[in-house]
Amino acid sequence: MKRKLCTLGFLTLALVALTLGSAWAETIRIGLMCPLTGSWASEGQDMKQIVELLAAETNKAGGINGNQVEIVVEDDGGDPRQAALAATRLTTKEISAVIGTYGSSVTEASQNIYAESGILQVATGSTAIRLSEKSLPLFFRTCPRDDEQGTVAAKTLGDLGYGKIAILHDNTSYAKGLADEAKSLLEAAGKTIAFYDALTPGERDYNAILTKLKSAAPDVIFFTGYYPEAGMLLRQKMEMGWNVPMMGGDATNNPDLVKIAGNQAAEGFMFLSPPVPADLDTPEAKAFMDAYKAAYGNAPGSVWAVLAGDAYRVIAEAIAQTKETSSEKLAAYLQKEMKDFSGLTGKISFNEKGDRVGDLYRVYKVDAAGAFVLQP
C-alpha cells in the first residue's frame, strides 16, 4: 500500500512539474531527440553538445527575432519503443520543431507521432530511403539517403577499376540498406560480387571472417558498417598480412577509426562521407570549428552530430526568415524558399520529399599520418 502511495506521489509530482513547465511561452522551443543512453550514446551526446553550443551562440547574439531559444532534449535510448515515448513526450512540450534522430528505425518509430501532432521534424542520422517516401509534409532530413551513397559507392569502386568486390555489412538496417543498394548497382554495372555477408557488431575477433574473405580473393572490400568494426577489420587484416584495399561507408567516418586500427593499418583506407566542417571554406564552418574547439577542446568526432547542428541551423534560419513558429509555415519555407543555405556540411536545399538535394558524398582517404584527406 505504501508503495502505491509513493508511486502516486511521484506521478503527481511529475504531472505538476510538467504543467508548470509548459507555462513558459516567450521562448522559442526546439526539441532535440537523441540517444543519450544505449548503444548509440556517444552519437547522441555529441549531438546534444553541438546543438546546445549553437543555441547558446544564437542566444548570445540576441536570439531569433529577439526571442531566446531553448532546446528541449529527450533521450530515445537508440530503441524504437523508447523513441515513441520520447516523441510523445516532446509533443506535449510546445515545441516548434524537433531535431532528430540517429538511427533509421528509431526515427521511423517517431515519424507518425510528430506527423499526427503537426510538428516539423528534421532528421539527422537516418538514411533509410523509405523515410521520405511516405508523403509526410513535415518531415525533412539534413542527412543524405542510402541510394545516393550507394550510387557514389558504385561509381567510386568502378572508377578505381575494381572488378571483384566483396561486400560486408553488419545486419543493422543502415548498413544492410547501403550494402543492398551498392550490390544491385554494382551488379547492374557488370561487376562481380565475390562475397556478401554480415558480421556481428560488438565482437572483437574478425579473423574467421577475414580468413573466409581472403579465400574469396576480392579486389576490394566494401564495408558498410560502423567505425569500431571497421577499425578492427583494418587492424586484423594487417596482422594477417593481407593487403587488399578496403573502402567504407559514412558510418566509418570518425577519428577513432585511426586510433583503433593504428596508423599503419588505416593508411590507404577510403570512405564516403558528407564533407566535415574542417574541409569546408565557408565562414560559417570556420566559425563553428573555432567555437567548438574553444568549448570542447577538439574537433567534433562524428559527422552525424554536425548534421544535427545543421538541422538546428536550418530551423533557426526558417524561424528567423518567416518570423513564425508554426510548423506548417516553417516546413513551407524549408521546402520552397531555402536555397543553398550555407550549412556546416555544405550547401543545403530540400526537395519536395524533404530530402536534401545535391551531391553530398565525397571520397576521403586516410594518409600515413592518420589524417582524413578529402579526395578531389
Binding site: R3, L11, P80, L85, T92
Partner: protein, 318 residues
C-alpha cells in the same frame, strides 16, 4: 475473495477515468505499462504459477507481432482479426520449442530459453524465409479499427490496451482458481509430490508455456499496430529481462503484484527521465536493493483460504 473483487473494481474504475486527467505523453506511458502488464501476466502463468525459469518470453511476443505484421501488410487483413491467429502461431511455436526442453532442471531451462530468444532475434535480423524484413523490420502496419472506428491516438489505444488487459486479468483469475491453476502451483511447490498425486507434470508445464505464448502473441499484435513498425531490436533478451524482473519484483504468482510491478518498472524510468544518463544506473541498483530487502516481491500472492466446511457440504468441491 470479496475484498479483492472490490479492489479490482476500484482499480478498473480509476483506470477508466485516467485519460481525462493525463496528457498525451502520460497516457502513452500508461499504454506502455498496459502492454507490459499483459505480457508480464502471460509470463506469470509460466514463471509465477508454474515456477518455470523462462527468460525467453520476448520470443513469443516477437512471433506474435511479426505474424500479425506480415499477414496485415501482405494480405491487408485488419489487424484485430489477425490477433487470434498471431496468438495461435506463437502457441504452436511454444509447443514445438518447449516440448524437448520441458524436463530440464530450473537453471538449464533458463539458459535454453535465453538461447531461444537469441536465435529468434538473429533469425528475424537475417530475414529468415525472406519475410521478416531483416534489420529494417516491417513497416506500414495498419492501425486497429473497431467497427469502423479507427484507433490511433494514445487515449484511444488506452482503452483498447486496458480493455484487453481487463479481459486478461479476468481470465487469468479464473485460471488461478481453477483446477489447472492449482495444479500449476502444486508443480511449482514440489514437482515430485505433484507427480505422485497424479498430475501429468510434463503436460501441465507444456500447456502453461502454450497459454503464456498465445497471450504474448496476441499482445504482440496490439504492439505492432500501435507502433506501425516493428524491428528485431524490440524483441531482444533485454526485453525478456524486463518482463522477468516485473514478475519477480512484483511478486511471482500474484496478479496484483505483477500489475504493480509493470507500473513501477515501466513508469519509474519515465519519471526519472530527468536523471538522463544515470537513469539505468539507478534502475540496476534498485533491482539489487529490492531483492535484498523484499525478495518475495512487492505484493506476493497471499495464502489461499478455503472454507473446508462449505467444500465438504458441496460434496467434494471444484
Amino acid at each position: 475473495m470479496k475484498s479483492s473483487t472490490i479492489y479490482y473494481l476500484a482499480f478498473a474504475a480509476a483506470m477508466a477515468v485516467c485519460p481525462l486527467f493525463l496528457n498525451a505523453y502520460w497516457t502513452d506511458v500508461f499504454n506502455n505499462v498496459g502492454l507490459y502488464a499483459i505480457l508480464a501476466l502471460s509470463l506469470n502463468v509460466i514463471l509465477g504459477h508454474c515456477g518455470l525459469f523462462h527468460m525467453g518470453h520476448a520470443a513469443f511476443y516477437a512471433i506474435g507481432a511479426y505474424t500479425a505484421a506480415i499477414i496485415n501488410t501482405s494480405y491487408g487483413i485488419p489487424i484485430l482479426w489477425v490477433m487470434p491467429l498471431a496468438g495461435i502461431l506463437a502457441g504452436i511455436f511454444a509447443m514445438i520449442v518447449a516440448r524437448p526442453i520441458i524436463h530440464l532442471r530450473g537453471d538449464y531451462l533458463l539458459i535454453v530459453t535465453i538461447g531461444i530468444v537469441e536465435i529468434v532475434r538473429i533469425a528475424l535480423i537475417n530475414n529468415v524465409f525472406d519475410i521478416t524484413g531483416g534489420a529494417n523490420g516491417i513497416f506500414g502496419i495498419s492501425r486497429p479499427s473497431v467497427f469502423g472506428y479507427k484507433i490511433s491516438k494514445p487515449d484511444q489505444f488506452f482503452y483498447l490496451i486496458w480493455g484487453f488487459a481487463a479481459v486478461t486479468i479476468f481470465l487469468l483469475l479464473r485460471l488461478e482458481h481453477s483446477r489447472f491453476g492449482r495444479a500449476l502451483m502444486y508443480i511449482k511447490e514440489d514437482e515430485v509430490a505433484a507427480g505422485g498425486s497424479g498430475i501429468n507434470v510434463a503436460h501441465h508445464k507444456l500447456v502453461a508455456f502454450i497459454i503464456g505464448a498465445v497471450w504474448a502473441g496476441m499482445c504482440g499484435t496490439i504492439y505492432a499496430s500501435k507502433m506501425t513498425i516493428i524491428a528485431p531490436e524490440s524483441f531482444s533478451f533485454a526485453e525478456s529481462v524486463v518482463l522477468f524482473t516485473i514478475v519477480i519484483l512484483g511478486g511471482s504468482g500474484s496478479i496484483p503484484g505483477v500489475i504493480l510491478g509493470s507500473f513501477l518498472l515501466v513508469g519509474l524510468p519515465e519519471v526519472f527521465r530527468g536523471l538522463a544518463e544515470y537513469r539505468m544506473l539507478v534502475f540496476g541498483a534498485a533491482m539489487v536493493l529490492m531483492m535484498i530487502f523484499r525478495n518475495q516481491g512487492l505484493l506476493p500472492p497471499g495464502p489461499k483460504n478455503y472454507n473446508v466446511a462449505d467444500l465438504l457440504q458441496a460434496g467434494g468441491g471444484k
